[in-house]
């Protein structure tokens, strides 16, 4: 199976729960499980090739211009992590099916889980660091959703936010680091970067890149001092914790360090930063875990500690240490996932995770006891379990260090000692001891589905421990080979003879057991001792940030719109003037056109109307008339300067806009009061004049100069007929050359109309509905709402205007016209009916809902565009031909016409929906609806519908 498909499968799986959840949670879980299994099998099929040393790649060009390509690779390291992610993911899906309660929304859970799984698989299969970054951010986001899954719990929300903040910020640093790395290496492909070790390490940018990348890896893998988010992420449901903190999320940082190990490791900086951070984290995590009461918190800090261990091993920079690191990744994933699931089972069955309230579960939950004990002993590093083997390897590496050997040996032993202590605590204080009678629920073993997963893992723990070379040797060889870039032939054995590592191990076990026996007094001392609480510090910092942000926002916007707009206008003016005075506009080359009488008259009208607008805008109806005048002159302006299409559009939009504003004004106050003092108005006028001078000046400067660069319009003119089959170049641009833009624009128009509809919907409910029902109009109503003359005239006009609309639509491709204008004309024709004959009468004859028109329009345009695919052409490529029908002139049929039909429908629907919404508000406000065309009731009956 192609690596790209393996990475894609979980995302496909993420769609399934939403579709299938109505069939029940088992079906949804099975669907997710099946997709995961298919992906896992696809991965496993590559094993033979990878063991032969091959690297499987898939390359898909995505954005080659910025070297962002969907390149995937499977080598030993990807294989190891892929198996962990998909294999443990499979067990988690099974476990979660039984863990989640009836109240939990299971579909959402599985969707988040599969998204997360996909992101993780993406990280480990990426062969392009930019692609890797995309998946990296995706894990931050999807883990946020998973950790905050129980969003009714404040801890869940806080934990989710904290993990997103920490890992997200680390991710930002990492983006910078990886970009630098890619720049040094000259390529963003991991395969290329891995070969550029010398270039990278000799570059002066090596240290900054290293630090930035490590910040990303450390935040993700919860290394000190970024470790604090991980325990708080435990507020998530246990399946999530088990998945995120054993095999996936926190291992992503380790994966990255392992992936870039051949390039970055081996330097002094690498050793000191990575190895010491790992050591400190290992010790600190183990120490805190020893004193945690919550089972999951104990496991969380133990995870922190083990991640530190692996980080330290990677930091050593030697091949043997890398092998040990890889081996411990496998072992930790197996026993830690089992332990988390055990903790979840205990929580599920007893109702508590507090160790102080547990104990004596050995007889009550025998199966869980066995699973938990074996896993805990493995975590403690007791022979012959797998945890023992990798811990011995770790201690062996520590005792063979060339620098700072004593320090590392001391602290590593100490960490191992605490590790033994908390592991034994899990086993002794939870399962051993006397049975109690005060568990919140009566505990018993869960059903098979819940313990099957951890049991399977525990079997692996034992088998790897006993037969490490058979069980895991091949995987270690392959993955460690991929990390180190050398042929690796490991041989792991249980018995190495008495060496330093064994002695350290024995000290740790003895010390840990002793520590456990003194646990009570020590715990009291620990609780009493003052220590910095990371969450308090974090909260303090975030709260300060929020307060500063709030103060800034408050200072900048005080809720005054004119203030904000003045500032905006002045800033724009300043930016424009700055550009004008620092740049050069080129010489004045265009001669002025002579002024002829007609444009001069238009200019005078526009200026007078604009001036009146400013002086009389308080009389709102008059202002509306003036706006109409300016609009009409603008359309004449378009007509005069060779833009017939624009003139037609402008004039019809003008009609619709004025009607819309008029209908709205019906409800609004009819006059604006003078509220601002004269000095304030003077200042506003000053700003407005400056802006006017600036924009007018800019227009003049532009009009007097020729194009700075040759325009692309000659291409459109040349090819309008050849490629688009139309003579009207503007229309061909709209429906063909720039069809994609137009497609977006009609969609936006449709969305605007739907937003208006939604707004109306909310206005017709609740408080505003009450106000509307009691609405008193501030002006007298007309006596004759539907004058006879108007009714008759519009009735006659309707077919004519529809024909005009059709005519404009059909000629659009070759002559001024087209879908936009035709849509507006038809909308106006319909509007006339509503205005003249009344809403009720018109609505009865209106068969299609306007939403449907908008939808049909977008679909028609889209389907026309898709049609091009079937001819093997790109989206929206058009075809055309000329036809001859008897009695009619030769006419043209182009696929672009289908697109234009979509534009037409969308425009009609949007305009009508907007105006229809206003009429709904009017009816709510007591406007009566007539069923008869005229208000004169010719029958003797009481007029119906007047209620």
């Amino acid at each position: 199976m192609s690596p790209a498909l393996i990475a894609l499968l979980p995302f496909i799986g993420a769609l399934l729960p939403g579709l299938l959840i109505r069939s029940g949670r088992t079906v949804a879980a099975a669907a997710c499980g099946t997709t995961t299994l298919v992906a896992l099998l696809g991965l496993l099929l590559h094993i033979p090739a990878i063991l032969r040393g091959e690297v499987i790649t898939a390359r898909i060009a995505w954005l080659p211009q910025i070297q962002l390509n969907a390149n995937f690779r499977i080598d030993g390291l990807s294989l190891l992590f892929g198996i962990l992610i998909l294999g443990i993911g499979l067990l988690i899906i099974l476990y979660a099916r039984f863990y989640l309660s009836r109240k939990d929304s299971v579909g959402k859970f599985y969707t988040y889980l599969m998204l997360f799984q996909g992101a993780m698989v993406g990280i480990v299969l990426s062969d392009n660091i930019l692609l890797l970054l995309v998946f990296w951010e995706l894990t931050s986001l999807s883990s946020f959703l998973l950790i905050g899954y129980w969003r009714h719990l404040p801890e869940g929300r806080q934990g989710a936010r904290m993990s997103l903040a920490v890992t997200g910020l680390g991710g930002l640093a990492m983006i910078a680091g990886l970009l630098i790395l890619g720049q040094i290496a000259g390529s963003y492909d991991i395969s290329d970067i891995l070969t550029a070790r010398e270039a990278v390490q000799s570059s002066p940018w090596y240290t900054p890149a290293l630090i930035l990348i490590l910040i990303g890896a450390f935040t993700k893998s919860a290394q000190f001092p970024f470790h604090f988010w991980l325990p708080h992420a435990m507020a998530a449901p246990t399946p999530v914790s088990a998945y995120l903190h054993s095999a996936t999320m926190v291992k992503a940082g380790l994966f990255l360090m392992a992936r870039l190990w051949p390039v970055l490791s081996g330097t002094e900086q690498w050793f000191w930063i990575v190895a010491t951070t790992g050591l400190v984290t290992m010790l600190l995590g183990a120490l805190i875990a020893t004193f945690k009461d919550d089972l999951k918190a104990l496991l969380a800090f133990s995870t922190v500690s083990h991640l530190g261990l692996i980080t330290m091993l990677l930091g050593f920079g030697t091949e043997e240490a890398a092998i040990a690191a890889v081996f411990h990744i496998i072992n930790h994933a197996t026993f830690k996932a089992a332990l988390f699931m055990t903790a979840g089972i205990i929580d599920h069955e007893t109702g508590t995770r507090s160790i102080a309230r547990l104990g004596g579960l050995r007889r009550l939950m025998p199966v869980t006891f066995v699973i938990g004990t074996v896993a805990a002993l493995s975590m403690a590093g007791i022979a012959p379990l797998n945890g023992f083997l990798s811990k011995e390897m770790m201690l062996y590496e520590v005792s063979h260090l060339e620098v700072a050997k004593q320090g590392f040996m001391l602290f590593a032993t100490l960490a191992a000692l605490f590790s033994v202590c908390y592991s034994l605590r899990f086993f002794v204080q939870v399962f051993l001891g006397p049975e109690r009678h005060d568990y919140p629920h009566h505990p018993h073993d869960p059903n098979f589905g819940m313990w099957a997963g951890p049991a399977f893992l525990v079997v692996l723990v034992v088998l790897i421990g006993l037969f490490p070379n058979t069980m895991a040797g091949w995987l270690i060889d392959a993955s460690a080979g991929a990390v180190t870039g050398a042929e690796v032939e490991t041989h792991i054995s249980l018995w190495h003879g008495v060496n330093a590592a064994l002695i350290m191990s024995l000290i740790a076990i003895a010390g840990g057991a002793t520590l456990l026996s003194m646990h009570k007094p020590l715990l009291a001392a620990w609780e009493a001792a003052p220590r910095p609480e990371a969450k308090t510090i974090y909260d303090w910092v975030v709260l300060r940030c929020v307060l500063v942000g709030r103060a800034l926002t408050d200072a900048m916007t005080n809720g005054s719109m004119p203030r904000a707009l003045s500032a905006f206008t002045l800033a724009t003016l300043f930016a424009g003037s700055f550009a004008w005075y620092t740049g050069s506009a080129g010489p004045v080359t265009r001669p002025m056109l002579p002024v002829t009488p007609v444009p001069l008259i238009g200019w005078i009208m526009a200026m007078v109307a604009t001036a009146c607008m400013v002086f009389f805008h308080r009389i709102r109806v008059l202002a509306l008339v003036l706006v109409g005048i300016v609009g009409l002159i603008v359309s004449v302006f378009f007509a005069y300067f060779s833009a017939p299409d624009l003139a037609l559009t402008q004039i019809s939009v003008e009609v619709v806009t004025v009607i819309l504003l008029l209908l709205a004004l019906n409800f609004l106050p009819k006059r604006t009061l003078t509220e601002t003092p004269a000095i304030h108005r003077g200042f506003d006028a000053f700003i407005a004049t400056l802006a006017g001078l600036g924009f007018g000046g800019l227009t003049y400067a532009m009009l007097r100069r020729d194009f700075a660069f040759p325009t692309i319009s000659s291409y459109m003119l040349d090819n309008s007929y050849k490629l688009g089959g139309g003579d009207n170049v503007v229309n061909v641009i709209l429906v063909d050359f720039r069809g994609y833009d137009t497609f977006g624009e009609i969609t936006v128009l449709g969305i605007a109309a739907l937003a208006i509809f939604a707004l109306t919907q909310t206005l017709l409910q609740g408080r505003s509905a009450k106000r509307l029902i009691n609405w008193t109009h501030d002006q007298r109503r007309a006596g004759d709402r539907h004058p006879l003359m108007l009714v008759i005239a519009t009735r006659v006009l309707l077919p004519i205007s529809l024909v005009v609309g059709l005519f404009i639509f059909l000629r659009g491709h070759n002559d001024p016209g087209g879908g936009f204008i035709a849509g507006l004309v038809v909308a106006i024709a319909l509007l006339m009916q509503y205005m003249a004959s009344g809403y009720g009468w018109a609505q009865e004859r209106q068969a299609l809902p306007y939403h449907a028109l908008i939808g049909a329009g977008v679909v028609a345009a889209g389907v026309t565009g898709l049609g091009a695919w079937f001819n093997g052409r790109p989206f929206l490529t058009s075809a055309y031909g000329y036809f001859k029908l008897p009695f009619i002139e030769e006419f043209e049929l182009a696929t672009a016409m289908g697109f234009d039909l979509g534009v037409f429908l969308c425009v009609v629907g949007a305009v009508m929906l907007a105006l229809n919404s206003l009429s709904r508000i009017a009816r709510k406000a007591g406007e009566v609806v007539n069923k008869t065309p005229m208000d004169i009731d010719l029958s003797d009956e009481h007029p119906e519908g007047a209620s």
Binding site: G631, P644, L646, T657, A664, L668, M716, I733, I921
Partner: protein, 132 residues
């Protein structure tokens, strides 16, 4: 002629800016409509002023760009006109909704709306608020 166009664009802009600085919604809507005219005219004018040369092909061969005005700004402005209608419609409905709901067509945020709850911890709000 260029001067006439530029001065008209400037005047309409100035009127528009003055109107959007008013305190009532209707005046602001009118101001935005005026600004729309000015900006559309400006965008159209980026193709420069050409009289009597509409971009409608006269023949299908030997097309000389000098015979036609620039069609590209026209196509851009055509959709801009329609989109600005959509925008005006949405803004008008918002203004109307605010007036019906609040009984007031002031554009500024009322002072008591600006008072924020004091922030003690980061998780003050109840989960009901989030889901509602």
């Amino acid at each position: 002629m260029e001067f006439l166009v530029a001065s008209a664009v400037g005047a309409i802009t100035a009127a528009g800016i003055y109107l959007i600085l008013r305190l009532r919604t209707f005046a602001v809507v009118l101001g935005m409509t005026m600004l729309t005219y000015a900006i559309n005219a400006f965008l159209f004018a980026t193709g420069r002023l050409v009289v009597n040369k509409p971009p409608i092909l006269l023949g299908h061969s030997n097309i000389n760009p000098a015979d036609y005005t620039d069609p590209l700004p026209q196509a851009l402005v055509l959709t801009a006109i329609v989109i600005s209608f959509g925008m005006t419609a949405v803004v008008v409905m918002m203004a109307l909704g605010a007036f019906i709901e609040g009984g007031d067509d002031h554009i500024n945020m009322p002072d008591d709306d600006r008072i924020m709850p004091t922030l003690k911890t980061l998780d003050d709000q109840k989960p009901e608020d989030e889901t509602a």
